[in-house]
Subunit: 185 residues, 2 copies
DNA sequence: TCCGTATGGAACAAATATGTTCCGCGCTCC
DNA sequence: GGAGCGCGGAACATATTTGTTCCATACGGA
């Protein structure tokens, strides 16, 4: 469906996520490619950011579908989300943190659609009794997204290993930071 | 201790957090001030980003101190953190999301110090049995920070009211998104 | 080897961002 | 009203970024 297996686009997206507002030169360097080549691939900056935004959107869509977001029970969805948390976080870092990247009009609407899709999942999870119902469904979207970015940042900074990311995301997002069972004595 | 009551600095910081990599013109517009005036206050871009970074650092320090991060019991600290979550989130959005802003050398070290300080709190909370001990203390720093940013984004986008932010942050960060008591049956 | 192709560096023109100067406006205080 | 003051627009010079062209080189297949 989406041919997201373009290594150069992936590298540029990663570089851009780590350094929003980087110049073409910096992006080319970080992607390990000459500025000229980058330019052949993306005629101008707008084309580049648009391509990156499309990549992020299609990745998000892919992950959501792969996780059975639209029909699976919430616990199973979170289980699978955890496995895909790093790609998801990359996409969110690109789409959320920076307005300019989606300011291309129709893409902003697509992002909105994906957020709505996630919100519907949250509503379903709340109705099922799997997710807490005393918070707005939309807040669940934000919370999950930010936790995904948190693991991504933590991995990038070297504080947690990529494999650990999955566990931390699952534990923290669902159960929070409170000690599980043990109040004092 | 810190005279953070400079409205212009605050406005610029807010504008910058919402649009990393904005031009001087854009920042001036968003702060409701002429580019010339902005320039009188901050001779060049580096001075501006440095001032903003200092502001964010001092705000973080202020919030941490106000929350009794260094000595109060974890539940109380979270209670107070929730009350200051929006200023904290603004600071974190500036300090974390964008490398350029702390790339000024010594400021990066200061940020590191604040993160360490928070990590010590996490370790203490884990030892006390208030915070879960099966995750790295450093991860707690990232998780809390990202949740703070999440409420900030959600407020900014208009999905939650500023007053609601406090409650959402507290609930979600500590207890997660799982439904509290009600498994199936 | 020779050819076709893609890459990336160098050099350039154009656009944009930045830093600076000057001047007029409105405001306040006297 | 008049002097002093800070703000912000206009205009400018400089620096940086962007977009383009040309060419030398490296690689792979015929």
């Amino acid at each position: 469906m989406t041919q997201t297996d373009d290594p150069m686009l992936r590298d540029v997206a990663t570089a851009l996520a780590g350094n929003l507002g980087a110049s073409m030169q910096e992006l080319a360097d970080e992607a390990g490619v000459g500025r000229t080549t980058l330019h052949r691939r993306f005629p101008n900056r707008q084309a580049l950011t648009e391509a990156v935004a499309r990549y992020a959107l299609s990745e998000t869509d892919r992950v959501m579908t792969a996780c059975g977001l639209d029909d699976r029970p919430a616990p199973e969805v979170f289980e699978r989300l955890a496995q895909e948390v790093l790609p998801l976080a990359l996409a969110y870092a690109l789409l959320w943190a920076e307005p300019p990247i989606t300011e291309h009009g129709p893409l902003e609407a697509e992002l909105e659609l994906l957020d709505d899709r996630f919100e519907r999942f949250a509503v379903r999870g709340q109705a099922d009794g799997h997710l807490r119902a005393d918070v707005p469904a939309r807040w669940i979207v934000y919370s999950v997204g930010s936790q995904a970015m948190a693991v991504w940042w933590a991995v990038r900074a070297g504080f947690v290993g990529p494999r650990e990311a999955e566990r931390l995301f699952r534990l923290t997002t669902l159960d929070g930071l409170h000690a599980p069972a043990a109040p004092p004595a």
